[in-house]
């Protein structure tokens, strides 16, 4: 009896890809006993990027890119257990498993993780996008057997227009409201800096005013070589009038908050992939929807699966049903993982 149980266990261990196991709170790399983006504290974790739902605090050891570790330090005030892995550097995790961090193009420091064990290759994308972004390294297609992808915008209605068009809309609104201001809601990590960097690239050199919650992260980006130009805090503005005709960037939660009353007649904008859907914009009282996302849209998701061309696609979070359907229609093996704790952040 005991022997039979032992036998069946060893069989499971040697079955293809049995060393990687999706659990509700993260992906478990069994031979190394290490978790990828776990949603609760574990002894050892690989973290793909700094957004709070992927980078939780309290792990014994956290392996991530230097920029992601810096972002986590900013948020959790500690570097305990931090182990830095540079892009492209392969590190041994133990149990015959190695990991390589590869740029994911999502935000500063974001990475896909390539895991290799016994000749089998698994790529976990974390969050990613394919559109160019001046604030982070571009996504690299990495061939693998199992491709574990996100699906935040995994519905065919989600196609993100070129960012230049959306930045153009923002600058037009600003020009049309010289006595008011345009208040842009943007996620404090990644989106805000990307919008600012794109504004600069479009030739907008004026002061951009920031909500206080943005300051530290913008400074961190600048320390990592992303130039953001002249930034000032709204709380340091000498008067309302100083901000007339300006662009102001704040976290989405501040858009309809009392905080925004100190601004001169703001036109409320929001930079998010969800702005593709009118109802979503109206729910938030957004007057100027800017379809700007740090996630892959439907075409990027499907194109990436085609280019990576894995034996099997696993879908972690988002609109997994639709992407699963697409895989089925295209004769690709796929499954949805029931992970918990990843949110539809304000992207």
């Amino acid at each position: 009896m005991e022997q039979a149980a032992h036998l069946s266990r060893s069989l499971t261990m040697t079955a293809p890809f049995s060393w990687i196991r999706p659990e509700p709170w993260g992906i478990h790399i069994v031979p190394a006993d290490i978790w990828v983006d776990p949603s609760r504290p574990v002894p050892r974790a690989l973290v793909t990027h700094g957004h709070a739902d992927h980078a939780r605090g309290g792990h014994g050891e956290t392996i991530a890119t230097p920029a992601t570790l810096a972002i986590m330090e900013l948020r959790y005030n500690t570097r305990d257990g931090a182990v830095a892995a540079a892009y492209g550097e392969t590190i041994g995790l133990g149990g015959g498993v190695s990991a390589t961090f590869i740029p994911a193009g999502h935000v500063l420091g974001s990475a896909q993780v390539l895991l290799e064990h016994a000749g089998e290759r698994v790529v976990i994308t974390g969050d990613y996008k394919r559109a160019p972004d001046p604030t982070c390294a571009p996504f690299q297609v990495t061939p693998c057997d199992i491709f574990i992808t996100e699906a935040t915008f995994g519905l065919p209605v989600f196609t993100h227009p070129p960012i230049a068009e959306e930045i153009g809309k923002l600058l037009t609104a600003r020009a049309e409201n010289p006595d008011a201001c345009v208040l842009v809601g943007a996620y404090a990590l990644g989106k805000a800096q990307r919008v600012i960097a794109e504004l600069r690239a479009a030739g907008h050199t004026d002061t951009i005013w920031l909500h206080g919650a943005m300051e530290a992260m913008c400074r961190l980006y600048e320390d990592h070589g992303v130039a953001l130009g002249d930034l000032r805090l709204v709380s340091d503005a000498p008067s309302k009038d100083a901000m007339r005709g300006a662009v102001i960037v704040a976290p989405p939660s501040a858009l309809n908050d009392r905080w925004s009353r100190r601004l001169p007649d703001p036109v409320t904008a929001m930079a998010s992939g969800w702005m593709r859907v009118r109802g979503r914009a109206r729910q938030r009282g957004v007057e100027l929807p800017l379809i700007i996302s740090d996630h892959a849209d439907w075409n990027e998701l499907t194109r990436t699966i085609r280019e990576v061309n894995p034996q099997e696609t696993w879908i972690t979070h988002g609109r997994e049903e639709a992407l699963l359907r697409w895989c089925q229609l295209n004769q690709r093996r796929a499954r949805a993982l029931a992970l918990v704790g990843y949110e539809d952040e304000d992207d």
Binding site: V157, R276, G279, R280, A281, E287, R325, L329
Partner: protein, 532 residues
Amino acid sequence: MEEFAALLDALVYTTSRNRKLALIAAYLRAAPDPDRGWALAALTDGLDFPAVKSNTIRTLMKERVDEVLWALSRDFVGDTAETASLLWPEPEEPAPQVDLPLAEVVARLAALTRSTAPKELPGLLDRLDSKGRYALIKLATGGMRVGISARLAKTAFAQAFAVSVEEVEEYWHALTPPYAELFAWGADGGAPPDLADTPHFRPFMLAHPLEDGEVDLADYAAEWKWDGIRVQLVRAGGETRVYSRSGDDISATFPELLQALPFDAVLDGELLVRGAAQGGEAGGAASFNALQQRLGRKTVSAKMLKESPAFVRLYDVLLAEGQDWREHPWKSRRATLESLMPRLPDTHFDLSALVEAEDFAALAAIRDTARDEAIEGLMLKHRMSPYVAGRKAALWYKWKRDPLLIDCVLMYAQRGSGKRSSFYSDYTFGCWAGDPDAGAELLPVGKAYSGFTDEELKKLDRFVRQNTLNRFGPVREVKRELVFEVAFDSVHASKRHKSGLAMRFPRIHRIRWDKPAHEADRIEGLRALVKD
């Protein structure tokens, strides 16, 4: 078409009423005739293209997009027109970049039949970008849902051309799209439209709810608020029409009324059907449930006319004896109405009686004892009030009796649409079929999607997501844990529901996060409240 599409898009994203008015007014001033008339018709839901329905669009989409991907997308977006505008495949060869005038688009849509629509619509959609496709589908299928009311559009017209909105309202219902006479008068300074001898609708006078205050019965008269449908009966040039509260012509549904009015007049009253089942006055009215059997029919059977004949209980007179009474105080109109009664056949008309009481407290006591199925509460009308369109403060009040309440358990939640898209905002709830502690089940008794704040909606949405047992498309079945205190006006026997009961106007009164589900009410309790 491009200008109209841009207007619609701007309206969607504008929350301020003043900015909406300014946007519409600017469009109406700038757009040419008859485009702007068609746009005004579209904004006030005044267009109907019978050959194009939501289903036509769904069918077109299913020929172009995988059915499952379409359903998942539609479910997420919460709006068929918008989903289709986003998923319509861009044509391989770019279409001519010539903008079609709105009038031309309307003419093409009007010329469609059920068989030509699926062939012709794709060509139109191919010429447009996603914004234009959204506008076209909204235009074709009706129901703009851009957060503006017909009243707001008329106000914008008045604002655009500096005329009074009351005058616009007065002409509005006598005219048809594209409202050439209205623009000739308002925009081009021509003579007002000639409305003599047309049996057209006049806007209803409406009441504010009486919340907490009291009124002095020396100033206000009281009458019952009957539970039928408010109608306006109009006879002009020998022709009679029946209009519903929204101004829809429902004459065909109630043919027995079309020969009943022996003189030209405009009368305001409650349409009811005769009923024997319930008490009330002699020749009384049946409950709303009985009237409901007759609503929404295009043809009426002889049997139905015999079994549930309709009559009008009169409240007010707007025009009679060749005179417009609307400027006169209520008490003069009431006297006029009373003087007209002998000339009206009592088979089809009676007079809504006044409720006399010593003082307000006595009136309250009368209201509370009246649990007649045909009575919703009391109306309080200022004796000096003129008959004015819409709700004017302090002239008329409705004083509804308190609702009935019952504790139900949330069973299913469905995603909302429009502003609530992707929120689980429509709730189906049930009562226990027996003792829940002895294993009894819940039976659904009703559905509600109002009565809670936006904050509560967020909490409810979270509850639904975290307590899902099963998913059926846009519907989720949830754990039987959350109790709603549901308010409703009445409950009736119904064959449509498994519980055999149907509630009238159910809405969430309170969310009882604190109450254990097994303490919710049982179905017997609800059944005991059935009156018909």
